[in-house]
Amino acid sequence: MNVLNHGALLAALLAASIGGALRAQDNKSGVPVPKLPEFDKSDAAVYGRQLADYADLYDTGWRDSYAVSNMTLFDSNGDSVQRRTVQLILEKPDGDKSIVRFLTPAEIKGVAALTHEHPDAVDDNWLYLPATKRVRRISGANKTASFQGTEFTYEDLSNRIVAKYDWRFLAEAEIDAAAGKVPVYSLEAKPRYTDTGYSRLVIHVHREYWRQERIEFYDKADRLLKVLDNSVWKHRHGRFWRPMKIAMKNEQAKKRTVIESSNQLLNLALYKNKRTGKPRPNLTDAQFTTDALTGRR
């Protein structure tokens, strides 16, 4: 495992932010970039699926992540309120495991949600409420539910599993992103699962970095509902692209939610513990159980 010292990481991050999003770093993640497959451009469905698969493959191998997110909710007048959460994700081949812990507002501080994703079945969910001091199993938690009154639904925040969509290649395009013109593959994705709020998504994947620059969400009436823009990209370990700013705008209600991430760690073993100076351990399954939700060691 490639261990980075803290100073080098900081320097790398600094360079990434100064050098701009378009300059890739040396790959220090220990995960090689996968080889491009033989693309079949004759069939838009096949080509679309190939591109989606490759983008997914490209973003595989990061093991685990930790981040603090600041969510700012803007209403149609531009008034805003904030929510803060911590997310832990463990990358698993048979479905990621994740925990979201709420930090603010104060009355929900300590609430934690645990999800075990299943690619072929309904996800398992548990919720811990400090006011009841109990972890509750929740069945059928609605993926189309809004996450804490934000413009994000649970569906938007969960990992998009390639096999759960019908893909179609639309075009090679250039889109206007925060950092300038970006060359993308525009792909259409139609959900194959029932618990969705959308008729289709249009996903714009960077042609070089394989990251999702923009996603357009179309409602059941096939009208543009929301647009998600990823920006302030960080090239973690010179290998994995992570947006530090995710803006979701509801084009119909004219409301907006902006998630800004801080303290993001990707593959925890590549960071040193501040106090001990030793590399951190990676997250384990034991940290994604109901017992872990209550927060006591």
Binding site: A106, K109, D124, R137, S139, G140, A145, T194, R223, Q287
Partner: protein
């Protein structure tokens, strides 16, 4: 300038003047309609998919046009839309009386499922709440992936949809057994109601033998909303958005034209809702399984308003037909019909063109303006054409004849135009926009009518050759000197004089009787009850209203009431607030951590700082009323209190049939969390928080190696966490963001209000306020009291039903204002024209009487009048006064010549009797056509105006002569110096006809 010089000039320049007027009108019309075309395109450009047939947008059907922009209720309504969602609901309901399971029959459910799926996909539909889509939240056993199971919270759709959601929905085969259906029926209706529908044994079979019925209370949020209490009627509650338009989109479409932005923006909202509504109707026909559906809701009513408004504009055609017939019968000449018609057409076009050019549109009230102006301009033209035909036998020279026609008509037509315009413009004094617009629109029309009749009519008359008929033995010249004498000295008796002789013989009883009538009428007017009721505004067979009544009988009210509670924000920035919270969290974590040796203890200064910050944070937290246990407990008492009175069929609150808010969600969550026991259907209380949770806790973040402080828990945090848990399961459209603001300072309670008389609705709203203010002072503090901590929240009421009901009070105020304004101005005009205070005062009687008698009757008999209709009074006043002006002109003229009062009255009526009758008939017809309007206020307006104008004719034939005859008669003593008005006759108003 003398009137004959003016008349000669006008005659000489008749063609250039006519052409100029025509050109001006044509230019205005072209520019006006050009503006409308441009505006229609701008509105169209907002659509996602352009309309197939581009329609000219000339009709303004905004709901808020009726309200004063300064109205706090309206402002609150707009704030609610900004904060939550700009939308209205539409109810689509049907009944299942055959099947034993009622609306829960498999076939009904299949229909509901298919409709829900299809309607959810209609553009601008935000959400459909129905029996099949509603979340079913309950406590139960959850099977594991691995084969085990554990207890937990189950959240599913009440009736799950068939797989393959993204394919075309079909009416699927029944998926549920009868006992599964009964189980869900119990979840919705509660065990007791379900037992009434299917019988106790089946309910027992579904829920088990030992579960008490009283514990299964069902889902109160759904009963009387998407299902009737008897389980027979089911509705889909469709939330239809009025789409938001960015500043940028508005800029792109309308530039900086403020009116166009406002009107066009909300027109787009209406179009979107109506297109959704029309698509819903198509879907009902397509997948409704042939059932009979009923639709209710505000968008439906608003669409109905526009449809009837547009139909009203078509009534002007009937008016034209009536006029052609009347004019034809009256004059029996082509010119007698064509000249007035040209005046009518150009006046209406000029009026509408100007309104459009100014960027305004027509609305339900101004839709009647073309009819009114038709009547007014016909009256103008009649004076000219009738005197032409009357004088023609006495003239050999066409020019002399027409100059004479102009001379004797110029002043009276100007004066009557002035008073008519005053009548219309007085409407602008009120604060009701459609009436203000009627005022200026029709006032403008009156001016157009004057200008066109004074130019076109002489020009057209000059085209007609004088017939070679025998002349009366009168010199043309002498006629030109004094037109009145042309026929004077011949017959001094006709039907009018014979009539007035009888009146004069009974002058004293008539005067006393009319004085009594006026007094009674005034009493009646003071007791008038204005009212408006959507149900009676449209004909009995209007589909929208029939459907609405159907739904309201089964499910309750379809109008909306908003009860909004709010606490003011703490005077600090978001950054200050976050800094404080972070600092508190840090200090608290250290304080707690120090006890376990995980952190350094707080320094005394930090202890002090923490105390200060804690006080500030408590002040911040108490304003977050949505998650304050104190507020929620008080709100529960308040809503329980209201519901108790709503159930009483005698109480004012019977008009409100439902209340719904986040509190009901919270009650349900608390119940579910406590094994579905009915006693927990209440907001959480302190005892619901386990003792071990009440102490603050430490959380150790292994990753960042930080300790975190979790505050001690109480009923408020439990409520907040239940909300979070609910939102975790609810569909986005069902989440709390439409009920509770993101900053948690605003809590919205939604009521359903029965449509009915605005008086009854207003009484219900007043009762809500009364109960709140007298019994719940903590919920109804002023913002200052809440700021000081003396109350928990302020309460405000809003909602479309409330806004519409509240208009009635404003109508009364505006009515009194515009009526007094019109009356005062008109009396002043009469005093100035006739240079007599006495005549001015006398004129009040024949003018007030015809207006006050019909209105007063309503008041005396306690019949409520449609708010907008009474406004026609000041319009009728402006028109009725025309008769009086003609009569008084003749009267003073005769008296000035030394005739006695009685002789003067006889002469006045002799000369103008016919003309007054013709114009009255025309005006009564013109306004009377409005009676056929499908829109009751317009119909009432037409009836009232027709009656008032007819009564004005009666007043001028009966009351005015009687009163005038009682005045001191200066000429009886043959003392010409005391004649009321003694100046050069040419400066005095000259009557229209001889």
């Amino acid at each position: 300038m003398s009137s004959s010089t003016t008349a000669t000039l006008l005659y000489r320049w008749r063609w250039p003047a006519s052409l100029l007027v025509l050109a001006t009108i044509l230019t205005t019309v072209m520019a006006g309609f050009g503006r409308i075309g441009e505006f229609s395109e701008q509105v169209n450009s907002l659509r996602d998919t352009p309309a197939e047939v581009a329609k000219q947008e000339i009709f303004d059907a905004r709901y808020d046009i009726w309200f004063d922009p300064e109205d706090p209720g309206l402002q609150l309504y707009q704030e609610i839309e900004d904060k939550f969602a700009a939308e209205d609901f539409v109810l689509v309901a049907f009944e299942e009386t055959e099947h034993p399971l009622g609306a829960f029959s498999p076939e009904s459910l299949a229909t509901i499922a298919a409709l829900t799926e299809r309607i959810e996909r209609i553009p601008f539909v935000r959400h459909v709440r129905s029996l099949t889509s509603n979340p079913w939240i309950r406590w139960g056993t959850i099977a594991d992936e691995g084969g085990g199971s554990e207890e937990g919270l189950l959240i599913t759709d009440l009736f799950e949809r068939a797989a393959g959601q993204n394919s075309e929905p079909q009416i699927s085969e029944p998926q549920y057994s009868e006992s599964e259906i009964v189980e869900r029926m119990v979840a919705v209706l509660g065990a007791e109601r379900a037992a009434v529908v299917v019988g106790e044994p089946k309910v027992r079979a579904a829920i088990g033998a030992d579960v008490p019925f009283a514990d299964r209370i069902g889902e109160p949020r759904l009963i009387g909303n998407i299902v009737s209490a008897d389980g027979r009627t089911s509705a889909l509650q469709v939330q239809v958005l009025r789409p938001r338009i960015d500043e940028a989109e508005l800029d792109a479409a309308f530039g900086d034209n403020e009116t166009a932005r406002v009107v066009g923006g909300s027109m787009h909202g209406n179009h979107s809702q109506w297109s959704a509504l029309n698509t819903i109707k198509e879907v009902l026909a397509e997948v409704g399984g042939g059932r009979e559906f009923h639709i209710a809701g505000m968008p439906n009513i608003e669409q109905n308003f526009m449809v009837t408004g547009e139909e009203d504009m078509g009534m002007v055609l009937w008016m034209f037909v009536a006029i052609i017939v009347v004019m034809g019968l009256l004059f029996r000449r082509v010119i007698g019909v064509s000249a007035p018609l040209l005046v009518v057409f150009s006046s209406i076009l000029g009026m509408i063109g100007t309104v459009f050019l100014w960027g305004d549109l027509l609305n339900n009230i101004t839709a009647g303006a073309p009819n009114m102006i038709t009547a007014v301009s016909i009256a103008d033209a009649i004076h000219l054409v009738a005197s032409y035909f009357m004088l023609r036998p006495h003239f050999t020279d066409k020019q002399a004849l027409i100059v004479e026609v102009i001379r004797i008509n110029a002043m009276p037509v100007f004066l009557t135009t002035l008073t008519t315009a005053i009548g219309f413009y007085s409407l602008t004094a009120g604060n009701i926009i459609p009436l203000q617009m009627l005022g200026y629109t029709a006032g403008l029309g009156a001016v157009f009518a004057w200008v066109t009749s004074m130019t076109f009519v002489p020009a057209l008359l000059s085209l007609v050759p004088l017939p070679k008929t025998q002349l009366h033995d009168v010199e043309a010249g002498s006629v030109a000197d004094d037109g009145e004498d042309a026929v004077a000295g011949h017959v001094h008796e006709n039907w009018a004089t014979r009539f007035v002789d009888r009146v004069l013989a009974r002058r004293v009883p008539i005067t006393i009787a009319s004085a009594v009538v006026v007094v009674l009428a005034i009493v009646g007017v003071l007791r008038i009850e204005l009212d408006s009721d959507f149900r009676t505004m449209f004909p009995d067979d209007n589909v929208t209203m029939v459907d609405m009544t159907w739904i309201e009988q089964r499910l309750g009210g379809s109008g909306d009431l908003e009860i909004v509670f709010e606490a003011p924000p703490r005077a600090e920035s978001g950054a200050e607030q976050r800094q404080r919270q972070e600092r508190i969290a840090e200090l608290r974590a250290r304080e707690l951590g120090a006890k376990e040796g995980l952190a350094e203890a707080l320094k005394p200064a930090e202890v002090q700082e923490l105390a200060t910050l804690t006080i500030a944070e408590a002040d911040f937290a108490r304003r977050r009323i949505a998650v304050s246990a104190d507020f929620l407990a008080e709100l529960r008492r308040f809503t329980d209190r209201l519901r108790e009175e709503m159930a009483d069929p005698e109480a004012d609150l019977r008009m409100i049939t439902r209340l719904d808010g986040a509190l009901d969600v919270l009650r349900k969550m608390n119940q579910v969390q406590n094994k579905d026991r009915a006693e927990f259907y209440r907001p959480p209380v302190a005892a619901d928080v386990p003792a071990e949770a009440r102490e603050p806790q430490l959380y150790v973040d292994d990753i960042l190696d930080e300790i975190e402080w979790i505050p001690g828990q109480d009923a408020s945090t439990l409520a907040a966490q239940y909300f979070l848990q609910y939102e975790n399961g609810a569909k986005p459209a069902e989440n709390l963001s439409t009920l509770v603001s993101a900053d948690r300072r605003t809590v919205r309670y939604q009521g359903r209000v029965r449509q009915g008389s605005s008086t009854a609705q207003q009484a219900a709203f007043d009762r809500v306020r009364e109960i709140a203010e007298s019994e719940f002072p903590l919920l109804t503090g002023t913002p200052e009291e809440v700021e000081r901590g003396e109350a928990l929240a302020s309460m405000m009421l809003s909602g479309k039903a409330l806004l519409y009901a509240g208009m009635t009070d404003k109508f009364s105020y505006s009515f009194i204002l515009s009526m007094s304004l019109a009356l005062t101005l008109i009396v002043i005009v009469i005093m100035v024209i006739f240079r007599s205070v006495v005549l001015g005062l006398v004129s009040i009687i024949p003018n007030v009487l015809p207006i006050f008698v019909p209105i007063g009757m309503f008041g005396l008999f306690g019949v409520p009048v449609d708010g907008p209709a009474v406004f026609v009074s000041s319009v009728a006043l402006g028109i009725a006064v025309d008769d009086t002006i003609h009569l008084l002109t003749k009267f003073t003229r005769a008296r000035r010549k030394g005739k006695t009062t009685v002789e003067s009255v006889r002469e006045a009526l002799y000369t103008i009797g016919n003309a007054l009758t013709f114009t009255t008939v025309t005006l009564v017809l013109g306004f009377g056509v409005l009676m056929f309007s499908e829109f009751a206020p317009n119909s009432m307006m037409g009836k009232l105006a027709a009656v008032m104008i007819a009564l004005a004719w009666v007043a001028d034939f009966v009351v005015t002569p009687a009163v005038l005859a009682l005045l001191p008669d200066p000429n009886r003593k043959a003392d010409p110096s005391s004649v009321v008005s003694a100046t050069d006759g040419d400066d005095v108003a000259t009557p229209a006809m001889t």
